[in-house]
């Protein structure tokens, strides 16, 4: 299996200018990988994510991104993403172009990407102002019913990064709980990097944590995965069902940390830049 240190995986798989998707719908957000991208100083990334939250606030605030493709940008239940807003509204620390969709469209675009199709169709967007500000929302006529439907191009990230609960010794990956759009984002990508809580011998071992065997979970077989990195706790402040709880107090605290540029930079220096991350160096 391709078990590598996180530092090496980011260095090999995430390049300046890449289109990168860090997915995880509230649950299993790959924060440790996001921090390593920041530490390695990646620039000019096109960041893709349905719900850019704290992880993209950090990447944008540290100047890693040039463009953001998203459908809902906020700190859920708390408020704004102050770093994303500062970049969009004032170009700090770098200008950020945005391409804005709805959830249904992003989910459909990842599905099209995973299916090797050029676009996705959906019944939506009609009558809204979104198509006027996003040239990637267009219209198609169904050849069978003549219905007019919205179309969006497939999402095909250069690299998708996800966090999962487990990989086994053969390099298969599985996740459970709220599985979001990770399966589609993973299979839509040219390269897939997965950080995991734990490496287990086999998913059907009698004392396995989480559901036993391969039932009711997303399994990404080893041949779809380009690198696996051990990163216990690597979703924090998001969580990994079966391993940790969502740190809601941190999400609330982030509002204050991120509001001010200097406070934000100080926090990132102390908690990200000067901390190499236990997982970063070890396989």
């Amino acid at each position: 299996m391709s078990l590598v240190p996180l530092r090496q995986a980011i260095a090999s798989f995430v390049h300046d200018g890449d289109t990168v998707a860090l997915e995880g719908f509230t649950h299993l957000i790959p924060h440790a990988a996001g921090h390593e991208i920041v530490r390695q100083g990646r620039r000019d990334l096109t960041l893709v994510r349905m719900t850019p939250d704290v992880v993209y606030d950090q990447l944008v605030g540290m100047g890693c991104a040039r463009r953001l493709i998203f459908s809902w940008a906020g700190n859920p239940g708390v408020g704004s993403l102050h770093r994303v807003r500062d970049a969009v509204e004032h170009g700090w620390p770098a200008p950020l172009a945005i391409e804005e969709h709805s959830h249904a469209a992003m989910a459909a675009a990842y599905t099209a990407g995973a299916s090797g199709l050029p676009f996705a169709a959906l019944r939506g967007y009609a009558g809204t102002d979104l198509p006027r500000h996003n040239a990637n929302i267009r219209w198609v006529t169904c050849p069978f019913t003549d219905e007019r439907l919205a179309a969006v191009p497939a999402l095909r990230p250069d690299v998708t990064v996800i966090h999962a609960q487990q990989a086994d010794e053969s390099g298969h990956v599985r996740l459970w709980g709220i599985v979001g759009v990770q399966k589609e984002a993973a299979l839509a990508a040219k390269r897939l990097l997965v950080t995991v809580e734990e490496i287990v011998e086999r998913f059907d071992a009698p004392d396995i944590r989480g559901p036993r065997g391969r039932d009711a979970v997303v399994v990404l077989p080893s041949w779809t995965v380009h690198a696996i990195c051990r990163a216990p706790g690597g979703a924090h402040p998001s969580y990994a069902a079966g391993y940790s709880r969502r740190d809601n107090a941190f999400y609330t605290a982030w509002d204050r940390i991120s509001r001010d540029r200097e406070t934000f930079l100080g926090w990132m220096r102390e908690h990200v830049m000067e901390r190499r991350g236990e997982a970063a160096d070890h396989a």
Binding site: H27, S71, W72, L122, R123, A126, G127, A241
Partner: protein, 260 residues
């Protein structure tokens, strides 16, 4: 319990909860809609099926989730599906009775803005964006909107149409190819507005106890139409208030607790 008088937000939440009929399948937005739906589940609608866009079907959370993807939502739920499946099979497939939404701004035809206040390129306030709302309002059999009423939120003209309600009124929504019926009522901290069956313009249909029609007019950014027979909505019962306050107290305790 302490018989503290109900706040305007509590009155709104309880009135919104009462719109959830027992047994309906309800796609729930975060915030007040989520509080109202969970109150309904614990009072008059124990068989309502709460659906969250994170993929959770039949959620029965012990406390209110801070985000739509909190672990609390999974425990006790009927099923958890992927997000593409949620939007494709369950929402666009026509399996949702009620879409339950909030918004930053609304117009007289119940179109919603959750994208920007001011100009799109140079906004005065940048809001989170569309999320699930456009397709929820397009596909749910009916949409119920919950939001506080003021001249800043009930506006003559939206700065940005994120989500279509009844478009430009009359039968204009029908031309858009949506399968859902659109907004059926708007629950606010002052009362309830329902669309006129022909023009589809929102009409004031009821007010909360102690609220005057004039107050509602003052809190509306357009010339508000008022039903000839405005009713006074029943006040929250002691039981509803007790259940809501207990839920919110326990929610605050859980969300502010540091991880051990």
């Amino acid at each position: 319990m302490h018989d503290r008088e109900a706040t305007a937000e509590e009155v709104m939440t309880v009135a919104a909860a009462r719109t959830i009929r027992d047994g309906v399948v309800c796609f729930v937005g975060i915030g007040v809609p989520s509080a109202a739906a969970n109150l309904a589940l614990r009072t008059h609608a124990p068989n309502a099926v709460l659906v969250y866009e994170s993929g959770v079907i039949g959620a029965r959370p012990a406390v209110l989730p801070l985000s739509i993807g909190d672990g609390e939502l999974v425990e006790g739920a009927l099923a958890v599906v992927g997000v593409p499946e949620m939007f494709a099979y369950w929402l666009q497939g026509g399996r949702i009775d009620v879409g339950f939404l909030g918004a930053a701004q609304i117009d007289r035809f119940a179109n919603l803005d959750t994208t920007v206040l001011g100009d799109y390129e140079r906004p005065t306030v940048r809001l989170p964006g569309a999320g699930g709302a456009p397709e929820i309002a397009a596909a749910a059999r009916e949409t119920i909107i919950v939001m506080k009423q003021s001249p800043r939120t009930f506006v003559e003209r939206l700065d940005f149409v994120t989500t279509v309600g009844h478009a430009s009124g009359g039968r204009s929504r029908d031309a858009l190819g949506f399968t859902g019926g659109g907004p059926s009522r708007v629950m606010t901290d002052l009362g309830v507005l329902v669309p006129d069956p022909v023009t589809r313009e929102l009409v004031l249909d009821g007010v909360h106890e102690g609220v005057t029609v004039e107050q509602v007019r003052q809190a509306t950014g357009w010339s508000l139409r008022v039903s000839t027979d405005v009713r006074t909505l029943p006040a929250p019962s002691r039981e509803e208030l007790a259940v809501l306050r207990d839920l919110e107290d326990r929610t605050r305790a859980v969300h502010s607790a540091p991880l051990g």
